[in-house]
């Protein structure tokens, strides 16, 4: 909460500095503007899931979970005297979740989805676009706080458009410095103790290139290289060996990931758009996955569209995964977390988008309203539903 206030005061300070900018107007084509509110986005979601492979109870037991998520994203823009466009984006998100499996850290607790926590994640990002030179520099910081986890993030990016402004190359570097609070399964605390924290660091480099192919079609290629180091297990994940003994999940302290993706948008005729996405992923824990996503927005009018979508995902298991009661004492690393098992999943649903020129429902500045519903089904019998709403003020 303190961080939200600090972020808020920092923002107010910046606004005050911007408001006191008394730079005299010059006679060039560019005119300096004050920092002004450009856009506000409110995103709210309700998510619920159920399954029977909780990692907290060693790969068996309820995965019932609900999550209510709200985030507010406020964007400010300022055009400088030298033709530079400055954008400041302030975002605060709050998730409230209840999880039956987290409740089972203490096995004597009840099995309802009663354990609850709040996650707060503010972020601040800044970009400076030089429209004359067609390049953009960006930087941002973020944090995420919940009862047993603290994450601080930072990123920098640089983009450069091609001469004809139909292509854009972007390089980005992100880092997350995390601390995991060691909350161990209750029956293991006499042997291994409880409390304290361990670190987990993530470093990610991204290269992407987008290209307008013709007036109806554009493409984006993206490649990430992600390296994680530190405590990559979760302390309250149990693993039951084939001799009946219970252990704490133990995974290697490094992971190297390479996801590669291509995204395309194609305007088919005057009313139908095809949005497609494919990702190939591989890492040194021997997990390989393919993701294919297709969404077809249909414009029923220039201001109203419906968008059915379907996403297919398939992955192999990490080499350290075995189900309940199948790991042996000879293994160095082990997990029974089904999120790392072999499975495939389908996610399908529909979205609607309303964006009328005079404001949605006639409310001025209520620029767009978007509602999405999706159902997720995993071959390990985990099912979930999600409904989201985005209100855009501009």
């Amino acid at each position: 909460m303190k961080r939200i206030f600090i972020t808020g005061f920092a923002l107010l300070g910046l606004l005050r500095v911007a408001a006191q900018d008394n730079t005299p107007a010059d006679s060039t084509a560019y005119k300096a503007q004050k920092l002004k509110l450009d856009e506000i986005n409110l995103v709210s979601s309700y998510y619920k899931q159920d399954g029977n492979n909780s990692a907290v109870t060693g790969g068996i037991g309820t995965e019932k979970l609900t999550d209510i998520s709200n985030s507010l994203d406020v964007k400010f823009v300022k055009h400088g005297a030298t033709g530079k466009k400055h954008t400041l984006d302030v975002e605060v998100g709050v998730d409230h979740y209840s999880s039956a499996s987290s409740d089972m850290i203490d096995l004597s607790a009840n099995t309802s989805a009663s354990y609850s926590d709040i996650r707060v994640y503010p972020s601040l990002s800044y970009t400076m676009e030089n429209e004359e030179k067609s390049n953009t520099f960006g930087a941002g910081v973020s944090s995420s706080t919940e009862y047993d986890y603290q994450s601080f993030g930072g990123n920098i990016s640089y983009s450069k458009k091609t001469k004809d402004k139909n292509g854009e190359f972007t390089a980005r570097f992100q880092t997350y410095l995390d601390q995991v609070k060691l909350i161990n399964p209750i029956e293991l605390r006499s042997a291994i103790g409880n409390g304290g924290t361990k670190g987990r660091n993530t470093f990610a480099g991204t290269l992407s290139y987008s290209q307008v192919v013709n007036k109806d079609f554009q493409l984006l290629f993206q490649a990430d290289v992600v390296s994680q180091q530190g405590y990559l297990s979760l302390p309250f994940h149990r693993v039951y060996f084939n001799d009946g003994s219970v252990h704490q999940e133990n995974l290697p302290d490094s992971r190297f990931k390479i996801p590669l993706a291509v995204r395309a948008s194609y305007f088919l005729g005057d009313n139908i758009i095809i949005r497609a996405y494919y990702r190939y992923y591989t890492d040194d824990w021997k997990l390989t996955s393919h993701t294919a996503d297709l969404e077809v927005p249909v414009k029923l009018s220039p201001f109203f569209s419906i968008s059915p979508f379907y996403r297919y995902y398939t992955q192999s298991a990490v080499k350290y995964f075995s189900p309940y009661g199948q790991h042996t004492g000879s293994e160095q690393f082990y997990t029974s977390n089904y999120d790392l098992s072999k499975f495939d999943s389908s996610f399908y649903g529909m979205g609607i988008r309303v964006a009328t020129p005079n404001g949605v429902f006639g409310i001025r500045h209520f620029n767009a309203l978007e509602i999405r519903y999706g159902h997720y089904s995993r071959s390990t019998n985990l099912n979930s539903d999600i409904v989201s709403i985005n209100i855009k003020y501009k």
């Binding site: 995103v43 979601s45 998510y47 899931q49 999550d67 998520s69 979740y97 996650r119 994640y121 973020s142 995420s144 047993d148 986890y149 994450s151 993030g153 004809d164 292509g167 992100q174 997350y176 995390d178 993530t202 990610a204 991204t206 290209q211 307008v212 192919v213 013709n214 007036k215 109806d216 554009q218 984006l220 993206q222 992600v226 990931k257 996801p259 993706a261 948008s265 305007f267 758009i273 990702r279 890492d283 997990l287 996955s289 927005p297 569209s305 995902y313 990490v318 999120d339 790392l340 999943s345 979205g351 988008r353 509602i371 997720y376 995993r378 985990l382 979930s384 999600i386 989201s388 985005n390």
Partner: protein, 72 residues
């Protein structure tokens, strides 16, 4: 099999980029349509989070590559 994927991807990239035509700003009314954006929708934010948590892979989707827990 991996080399076939690589060749297909390379061919796709070559075909896509070699057939590019220079599109002027005034011809970009369809390209600039909000539904054509080459990024995720704001309303997809929580969907991407739960997919990152419930699946073993992440990244290359303009979202987070780490940070936050996902441990529930």
């Amino acid at each position: 099999m991996k080399s076939i994927y690589c060749i297909c991807a390379a061919l796709l990239i070559c075909a896509a980029t070699s057939s590019c035509t220079s599109v002027k700003e005034y011809q970009k009314n369809k390209i600039n349509d909000a539904e054509m954006a080459l990024n995720n929708r704001k309303a997809e934010k929580t969907e991407l989070s739960f997919q990152t948590y419930r699946e073993g892979s992440s990244g290359a989707n303009a979202g987070k590559s780490g940070g936050g827990c996902g441990c529930n």
